[in-house]
Symmetry: C2
Subunit: 425 residues, 2 copies
């Protein structure tokens, strides 16, 4: 089953918006074992949208159209799909009622042009999920409707989903993927689990998993995939196919258990976890509070911790001690060089003390563009101070100023995480 | 002149990498007055790349291929272009020497497979800019080489540029755009200037500029475009066409002067400026230092200021006072509610004092998910304290926790900027 994605909107071609929707849909299709050979962006132009739809139906079995379902004149996706289907647009009263109710819920009167969104090609059906005013559509296309006369495929399908990411995502995961898999004759369910790893390169991680990947290639199910996520580490995605959800989850559990001795020491979280949610959760579980003293990261560590809802339960506060004089006066760092493990420990202990926290964290280093204290750009010292004492470490990071600061931030959070889960590397 | 972008790489279809290159190229084409009707992503598959190239040449005058120029077996862009051109691939000795020299510069021996990158279709020429090992290519296509026999266009062209963003950008701005404009018969030059605005919605900004846009629509040159940039505000891009660079710059200067009375009060910077680079520059120019006390933004304000190289000249440091007790003990905030302008002023004055800074900044507010002190989510108070006294303001922001924190961060930086340039709104 070949599936294409067609992103619709002139603003995408002009680069005013980056099309992240297609990439996300590509991930979901790959995880569901559905082939995708092309993704196309096209502007709000009737002729070109029609052409792109016909071309996509010619070379693929299904097309997911993203965008152009709004109430304005520019939004012509449903009209173009109706033309390609050779079908009339008629108002779906249920959808119309739903849209009207949404406006009433917000205490507003529905503008009449929003009723345009309730128009649906005859033969199409609305997607049950509808988080916004734009309904998604499932539009079956009979083989005779296409130019390709020698085509023997029984039925193809166009899905229309809104361009608003959260609306689109709800429809893709709630309906489109399952519908595609049913059409492809797959009665099995597909489930994925992501192991979030940090601290190892893609090639080194592949090497650790090489034998298992060879075994899985022979078995065919589950499968493993790597997704690089920049300074946020590498995701290892396990995808399992099974007759039922329960069996798919069992396959995932079993595979996770097989992978654990190989890479478990690198895994900081699962699925939607990120480093800060994991750290905050571990702190809450242990009833511990934390404070941070930052130089090279300049507030990023505090900023990430505070991004987690509920961080106030565990985060006392932080000091951005950018000037040496502030490090000395506020945090009690001794005079002398400040890009040292000794200075990092003094900062961590200092902030722990003035913030009355259980744990103190610190970063100090050289983000560039120039070296400092004879230390090259990318030199960063970390420290964690707790009632059990302090530990410090120094790393040398590659990249530019921003990358060094981001990388230092997640590195320090990972050091704290390892201390908490008692896995010092 | 119609130009298509073809992004090549299976990792793009799988969503392992978001294709930001095409969006960026779309921006450059639009600014240069070149039409772009389609952007396509295709995997590393010979048949499909060939098909996509032929289709693009059929419906457009030029194709920019991005990616697939590396030294590995997956990288087949140059082979596919050679096939579509009907040309042999031959080694370009100059390019080969250049690649070898790059490896020698890094003290490494060139692996033999990198020589593949020096292969160039007969009739094509390398793009002069070559920041990495992959050379870019300009590949003219004679009309007879295409399937479309009724085609009367004289010559079309395929450009090949690497997928590495900084390499791609250097070639597009250094060669491709100018070459496209020459081919389109344009001897004029195109120059753009971006006015970075903050603090007004797109519809309100359009209203301010409505009359001028109508005038410019009649004149045709220069043109104005809006680019939304999320919490970073709206960019207004002026694009001017003229016989020479000097004249184009004069047109830009003149138009900027016309726009200034309308929107100058919203403009915080030009072109590559962002809010923090502007703030740091204004502080340096005035020889002033700054410190920040953060609650709701939790380190983001400090983090953004420190992102600017040279921030250490003006930034003393910051306190992330997340708990009320820390606000009181470290910053001297009186007991009582902390989401108030009084608390914000006390925080700004407190941090100014303990950091020995000329100016103190502060944020305190409710990021959610729950309301606090009876104040709804999105309530944020800002303060700026200086030797001349303190000012405070309260705003109510929409959106989720992260958006409220990001929006608060740039809001506070803009308040500081306005104080510095004496433009209090």
């Amino acid at each position: 089953m070949k599936v294409e994605v067609l992103a619709i909107g002139t603003e995408l071609l002009l680069g005013q918006i980056v099309d992240t929707n297609s990439s996300w849909i590509g991930q979901q299709l790959a995880a569901a074992g559905l082939d995708s050979h092309f993704q196309t962006k096209v502007g709000d132009n009737p002729e070109r949208i029609r052409g792109a739809l016909r071309l996509a139906l010619d070379r693929s079995d299904a097309v997911i159209c993203c965008g152009g379902l709004g109430p304005t004149q520019d939004d012509i996706t449903r009209e173009m799909i109706a033309e390609v289907m050779g079908a009339e647009l008629v108002q779906d009263d249920e959808v119309a009622t739903r849209i009207r109710a949404m406006f009433e819920d917000r205490g507003r009167t529905m503008p009449e042009n929003n009723l345009k969104q309730a128009l649906i090609p005859v033969g199409a059906s609305p997607i049950p999920q509808q988080p916004g005013t734009a309904p998604g559509l499932i539009c079956p296309i009979a083989a005779v409707d296409t130019a390709k006369t020698a085509d023997t495929r029984s039925e193809r399908v166009i899905y229309a989903v809104p361009g608003v990411p959260y609306e689109m995502k709800e429809m893709i995961t709630g309906t489109v993927i399952d519908d595609l898999r049913k059409r492809s004759g797959e009665s099995s369910v597909i489930r994925s689990r992501v192991l979030r790893t940090w601290g190892m390169s893609e090639s080194a991680l592949s090497e650790l998993l090489a034998d298992r990947i060879t075994e899985l290639d022979a078995i065919g199910n589950p499968t493993l995939a790597f997704l690089a996520s920049g300074v946020e580490g590498l995701k290892v995605r396990i995808t399992a196919k099974a007759p039922s959800e329960v069996e798919a989850e069992q396959l995932l559990d079993t595979e996770q258990a097989v992978l654990w001795p190989l890479i478990g020491h690198l895994v900081f979280g699962l699925d939607d976890d990120n480093m800060e949610t994991v750290v905050v959760r571990e702190l809450i579980n242990r009833g511990l509070t934390v404070a941070v003293a930052e130089s090279v990261t300049g507030g990023y560590v505090a900023g990430r911790i505070c991004a987690v809802p509920g961080a106030s339960k565990v985060f006392c506060g932080g000091v951005v001690a950018y000037q040496p004089e502030i490090k000395q006066r506020l945090l009690g760092v001794p005079e002398g060089p400040v890009v040292t493990e000794e200075a990092a420990v003094a900062m961590a202990e200092g902030v722990r003390s003035i913030m009355n926290a259980d744990i103190g964290l610190a970063t100090t280093g050289v983000a560039g563009p120039d070296e400092a204290e004879g230390k090259p750009v990318g030199t960063v010292c970390f420290a964690v101070a707790s009632p059990d004492g302090a530990l410090a470490t120094t790393i040398k990071l590659p990249g530019d100023r921003e990358r060094i600061r981001q990388f230092s931030t997640i590195s320090l959070l990972d050091v704290l995480r390892r201390v908490l889960v008692n896995q010092e590397s």
